[in-house]
């Protein structure tokens, strides 16, 4: 038994723990796991098992022992398997992995097993009496294998989410396995000639089962509930720890930076604002709105907030954003966002001393309205030389090219307000 001998030698090294492979397995994943562990081609290991099977069924026993004792894991995946396949299965998620149909390997394995069993039965000289027990034994074995595979799947489902739909299949398989085992055991009883007592034996067994269920049932239910509750608590604690870790890290980091830049009020203010925004995002943003997402914003509210945050970081002027309503971005709105950003930059650059810049965005029906106002010294478009294109092109021109309007006006008590209006595209409703 070279496989079994290799096991204790390797166990002292903790990183290389033996796992059964959950990927690309034929039966229990034992051969693949061992192959990965020993660095051998998986076919060799399978051949060794098949060969051992000839030795009075030793291979089957060893295989069963491995199946029973070695945990299923993602480790031990065969290195022979081309990485392209693993890469193909991994990106589209484990869902796909679980839901896939039994592959060719499993069918081949079944056929092989049947053939080997035939050969085994043909070669080994069993007495007539023993030969009669063969089919019930096979039934029992098949039932046990079915249920065990089932247990493996259940375990794998823990790190791969399984849809509710698959519960029925799970149940059917378990029932099938139990039925097979029952049939096999009954067959053995019948062959032993105790068929007459079969009815009473079954009744007694049933009675015992019911008794055990009644005694242990509540305890089991309680235990499962406790377990799931504990798991829930653990997930919550983990989440909290994650938030705390993030918050602590970034707050400490910012505080250090603030201490170091104590004589630079602008920098301190910028750091504090950035930290405040970050904390707010963590604390008050509702779940599922993409706390960590770094990709391009695809809704108006997100885009406005993102732009404001970036301008705020860059120019050190607080920008207060109020968004009413939301809608997906289209081409016109993207242009509007760019114009709004330009307006924010202007406001932060030239009007930032007067206090925070106020940004207001509203979606009402088909119209999207954005206002950017500062409390700076004010701004007269006509007084700007004709060659300065910042406002004319980046804001007014851009809005008009995309079918919107832009207005600049002085606010009564000082400051400038830029109003941008744009119609949403027809398709996005």
């Amino acid at each position: 038994m070279p496989e079994a001998a290799a096991l204790p030698v390797d166990t002292p090294r903790p990183p290389r723990k033996l796992y059964r492979s959950s990927d690309g397995r034929w039966l229990g994943g034992v051969a693949r796991g061992l192959a990965g562990h020993l660095g051998l081609p998986v076919t060799w290991v399978r051949l060794v098992f098949a060969g051992l099977f000839m030795a009075d069924g030793l291979g089957a026993l060893v295989y069963a022992a491995f199946w029973f004792f070695v945990p299923l894991g993602v480790g031990g995946v065969d290195n022979q398997r081309p990485p392209a396949i693993a890469a193909e299965t991994l990106p589209d998620g484990r869902r796909r992995l679980v839901a896939r149909k039994p592959d060719r390997g499993q069918i081949v394995a079944l056929l092989l097993m049947v053939v080997v069993a035939m050969v085994f039965v043909g070669n080994v000289n069993l007495g007539d009496g023993a030969r009669a027990y063969l089919w019930p034994t096979v039934l029992v074995a098949a039932g046990v294998a079915l249920v065990w595979r089932q247990a493996d799947n259940a375990r794998r489902a823990r790190w791969a989410e399984v849809g509710r739909r698959r519960r029925t299949i799970t149940l059917l398989r378990s029932v099938g396995g139990v039925l097979l085992v029952t049939a096999g055991v009954s067959g053995i009883f019948v062959l032993q000639g105790s068929a007459a007592h079969l009815g009473s034996v079954l009744q007694a067994a049933l009675a015992v089962l019911v008794g055990i269920t009644l005694l242990a049932g509540p305890y089991l239910v309680r235990m499962t509930q406790d377990l799931s509750e504990e798991r829930l608590m653990r997930i919550r604690a983990q989440e909290r720890a994650e938030v705390a870790a993030h918050v602590h890290d970034s707050v400490l980091h910012t505080l250090t930076l603030i201490q170091r830049n104590a004589d630079n009020p602008n920098e301190v203010r910028r750091l504090a604002r950035a930290q405040e925004r970050d904390l707010r995002t963590w604390l008050y943003k509702p779940e599922g709105t993409g706390k960590d997402e770094e990709d391009e914003p695809d809704t108006l509210a997100e885009a406005v907030r993102r732009n404001a945050a970036e301008v705020e970081d860059k120019h050190g002027v607080p920008i207060e954003v109020v968004v009413v309503g939301d809608c997906p971005l289209d081409e016109g709105l993207t242009a509007q966002m760019q114009a709004a950003r330009e307006a924010m930059v202007n406001a932060a650059k030239y009007g930032g001393e007067g206090g925070a810049v106020q940004v207001f965005a509203e979606v009402e029906g088909r119209t999207v309205f954005v206002s950017v106002r500062d409390r700076g010294p004010g701004f007269d478009l006509d007084a700007i030389p004709a060659d300065r294109m910042g406002v004319r092109e980046s804001i007014i021109g851009r809005m008009e090219r995309n079918g919107g309007t832009a207005r600049l006006r002085a606010v009564p008590d000082g400051g400038t307000e830029v109003e941008l209006e744009m119609e949403r595209a027809e398709t996005t409703s």
């Binding site: 008050y284 607080p318 207060e320 109020v322 309503g325 925070a356 810049v357 009564p412 008590d413």
Partner: protein
Amino acid sequence: MPDASASGEPAGTGGSGPGASGLGRHVRVVLVDDHRMFRTGVQAEIGQTDRTGVEVVGEAPDVDQAVSVITSTRPEVVLLDVHLPGGGGVEVLRRCSALMADSEQPVRFLALSVSDAAEDVIGVIRGGARGYVTKTITGSDLVDSIFRVQDGDAVFSPRLAGFVLDAFASTDAPPVDEDLDRLTQREREVLRLIARGYAYKEIAKQLFISVKTVESHVSAVLRKLQLSNRHELTRWATARRLV
């Protein structure tokens, strides 16, 4: 001291300095906040009675103490934090509802919170708070807001105005019988200007109405938000998974 950091919360003043609106006026205030640092800061900023006209007559760090302090001192205005041990600001409002309804000398609440999450804001406003300002407000604006609340007016920060606009977001063709519950065009306009960062004074100038009219519009909004339009609010809250 968070309330000195930014001046971007013009919760009603048109740039009046400390004391400008408090001349000859006196208001008794209770501070409810679980952070001692913050209470001290606010106390230092506004509690100089000879200058601002605000007298801090009591402080409380949690719900139980807040209720007993408010009951015993009977202030005119309570500055109420939203997040408090023992049930939060909403719980204080609930247990003080009798004091709020008092016709002789009602106790008025101004929510003062670091949070500007919609559920917090709408929660305390529905609980009966007369206004909501965030802790980034300047001292002078806070004093002004306190006097405003004492007068029975509402004080909205731009963000709060945004939330209210969101809550009453226009659906196409409102049914006639709900007309009473809806915001009028004018109220909506006023709210929109608040959300854009305008002070009440500036709004008045912009719309060619008096500041008093602006205030009454805002009070009307508050009343509607508290008492009516259940359908709208429920739908709004459910859509955001607030309830």
